[in-house]
């Protein structure tokens, strides 16, 4: 179960304690996160919601080791990442985190296959092993027939599926998704979410996702709201209800 009151035990995959993040803009100090606690078990699918500027992406960046907190601790699978050096944090990210961005962020001059292969180039896998891993990942997202296409030859939904394949190819400990459907139409968004659900349900991946879309958030097992720098548990509304409400 996801907990936000700091009462989670040592068994949590992700453990966040008393996390503060402060920015300085000009002479002004902005407290984005204040004393935030979070415990996420392995295999959970958590959605973070909140208004723009509430600190959702900041939290995701901190959890992914892309940014460092002003105060507090983050422990992932027993690794305390808040005090790691830049180099160690980079190595840690390569092993433990799969990133899925809103704008896909594929390398335009590389094919889908080459984009997915990028994280594996940092490993000692042979060329044949890399090929096998890439084909498997592209198979999971249903794009084996498009592996030699460049991003410009793919639709937005397909590009995002390639991003998912790149995120899972090295079998990371957890996935961080920042508005994964934010730039997609509803049909493509559904396809992408179906893949993410499959990753959680079938492949037992842990997924932390930021979204503005209640329909997308409803597909997560837990929804957390960021309000005034702290997390509060949200009410889980079924997709059918949301869809009905929307209609």
């Amino acid at each position: 179960m996801v907990k936000v009151d700091g009462s989670g035990g040592q068994s949590s995959l992700i453990q966040v304690r008393d996390l503060d993040k402060t920015y300085r803009r000009g002479g002004e100090v902005i407290d984005v996160l204040q004393g935030l606690n979070l415990d996420v078990e392995a295999g959970e699918f958590v959605a973070f919601m909140g208004p723009s500027g509430s600190g959702k992406s900041t939290l995701l960046n901190l959890l992914g080791g892309l940014d460092v907190p002003t105060r507090g601790h983050i422990t992932v699978a027993g690794d305390e990442i808040t005090h790691m050096s830049g180099g160690k944090l980079t190595e840690w990210r390569a092993r433990h985190v799969g990133f899925i961005f809103q704008m896909y962020n594929l390398i335009p001059v590389l094919t889908a296959f080459q984009n997915v292969e990028l994280p594996l180039l940092l490993t000692k896998l042979s060329k044949a092993e890399r090929r096998s891993h890439v084909e498997t990942a592209l198979g999971v997202v249903g794009l084996t027939d498009r592996m030699h296409h460049f991003p410009r030859q793919l639709s937005g939904g397909q590009e995002q599926r390639v991003t998912i394949a790149r995120a899972i190819v090295s079998d990371p400990t957890f996935l961080l998704c920042d508005e994964p459907t934010g730039d997609l139409d509803r049909k493509s968004a559904d396809d992408v979410m179906a893949i993410i659900e499959e990753l959680v349900g079938k492949h037992h991946k842990t997924v932390l996702m930021v979204t503005h879309d209640p329909l997308v958030a409803a597909r997560a097992s837990s929804i957390l709201h960021l309000e005034k720098g702290v997390l509060v548990e949200g009410k889980h509304t079924s997709q059918a209800t949301l869809a009905g409400g929307a209609a």
Binding site: L66, T90, A94, P108, V109, P119, K127
Partner: protein, 383 residues
């Protein structure tokens, strides 16, 4: 190398820009090679000079002649082994443009004083027996398609003799080393002496002598000049390398000029390539951030940028140096006789390649360091 595909793909991203940058490199390296060979040609005299050779000229100027009678006195100076003498003839073959250096020589000691210029014995014997005989360097023979037995008319305005001087080509010499001058034309002192006006008879241009021990050269030079001090034709004796260096100085400070142009070319190239790399990195800020996010280290990102600029430098530099290899022999043919032989040596090619590599690294360093220091969070926000 597993990253080569990424580097190559990034290089080909903007093909027109890549071609223009490679073109700049190629032209700059071609220009560099031209400057290097011209600079080398001007300093060649000093480089090929025999350590044991001295030149004695008229103290007033090399264009003032000195008496042939000095020869025996010079020969008697302790330490001198061989003495020979030359006159500058300054003629042209058929047309004004067919210029090459012609020297009146004293055949007796020519081969002893210039042992690096090789004439086959049978050809040398024929030359000695032929009053109108001539020996020519292989490059000049090749330039005019001359062969042994040819009759060669040379016209000069220097000695007040009207009409062409006719010579029989008896020999062709080759240099022992690639840098040896193979453009000279030699003919007999006796033939010269016979035809020039009375005022010039018995007057030579300069003496060339060999000494037993190169360390003894300063003493020998001093002794010769003291011998003719206070005479109507005082002398100035110096080592062949000093003489050659002073000769080059007459054209101005060639070395400084070449270094200045070379430096300007180098820095212009640095700015052009540095600007290209900076634009290229700026365009890819978010992509570089993705590389970092998925686990590529700061050093890997620096490596990618440096590898790209180095690849541009090596491809462009390589093309420039290949062009130089093709064009410099053509230039050498066009300049025949105006400069000592122009040679693009392996050393110069390696130096050129070194300049290209250095420029490649330096031009990629600043954008690369910027990419290395990029904060992923900030860079992703720029998407």
């Amino acid at each position: 190398m597993k990253f080569a595909r990424i580097i190559w793909a990034n290089l080909l991203r903007k093909r027109v820009r890549l071609l223009l940058t490679i073109g700049s490199f190629a032209i700059a390296l071609l220009l560099f090679a031209f400057l290097a060979v011209v600079g080398d040609a001007f300093s060649r005299g000093a480089d090929v000079a025999g350590a044991d050779r001295l030149i004695t000229i008229n103290r007033t100027s090399i264009i003032n002649l000195i008496p042939l009678s000095y020869r025996d006195k010079i020969q008697r100076v302790p330490g001198v082994t061989y003495v020979t003498h030359n006159n500058w003839f300054g003629g042209t073959y058929i047309e004004e443009k067919n210029f090459f250096p012609q020297f009146v020589i004293d055949p007796e000691n020519q081969r002893q004083v210039f042992p690096e210029l090789l004439v086959p014995d049978d050809q040398w014997s024929a030359f000695l027996k032929d009053r109108q005989g001539a020996v020519v360097g292989a490059k000049t023979a090749q330039r005019f398609h001359w062969k042994i037995g040819d009759r060669i008319p040379i016209t000069t305005t220097l000695y007040g003799v009207s009409g062409a001087w006719e010579f029989n080509l008896d020999g062709i010499y080759h240099g022992k080393r690639p840098q040896d001058d193979e453009t000279q034309f030699w003919f007999q002192w006796d033939y010269f002496e016979e035809r020039v006006p009375q005022a010039v008879k018995g007057q030579i241009g300069w003496y060339v002598l060999r000494v037993q021990n190169p360390d003894d050269a300063p003493r020998v030079a001093k002794a010769i000049d003291e011998e003719f001090a206070n005479s109507p034709n005082e002398t100035k004796t110096e080592t062949e390398s000093t003489f050659a260096a002073n000769w080059v100085k007459q054209f101005g400070n060639i070395k400084f000029l070449i270094i200045s142009i070379g430096t300007v070319v180098f820095f212009t190239l640095l700015l052009v390539t540095g600007n290209t790399m900076a634009i290229s990195v700026r365009e890819r800020t978010s992509e570089l951030a993705v590389f970092k996010a998925i686990g590529y280290s700061d050093r890997s990102v620096l490596f990618f940028v440096l590898a790209e600029s180095l690849a541009i430098a090596l491809i462009g530099g390589g093309i420039g140096l290949i062009l130089a290899r093709i064009l410099i022999p053509i230039l050498a043919d066009l300049l025949n006789g105006l400069l000592p032989s122009i040679i693009l040596s392996p050393g110069m090619l390696l130096f050129g390649l070194g300049v290209a590599i250095l420029t490649g690294i330096l031009s990629g360093l600043l954008p690369g360091l910027g990419a290395m220091r990029l904060r992923v969070v900030n860079a992703l926000r720029r998407v």
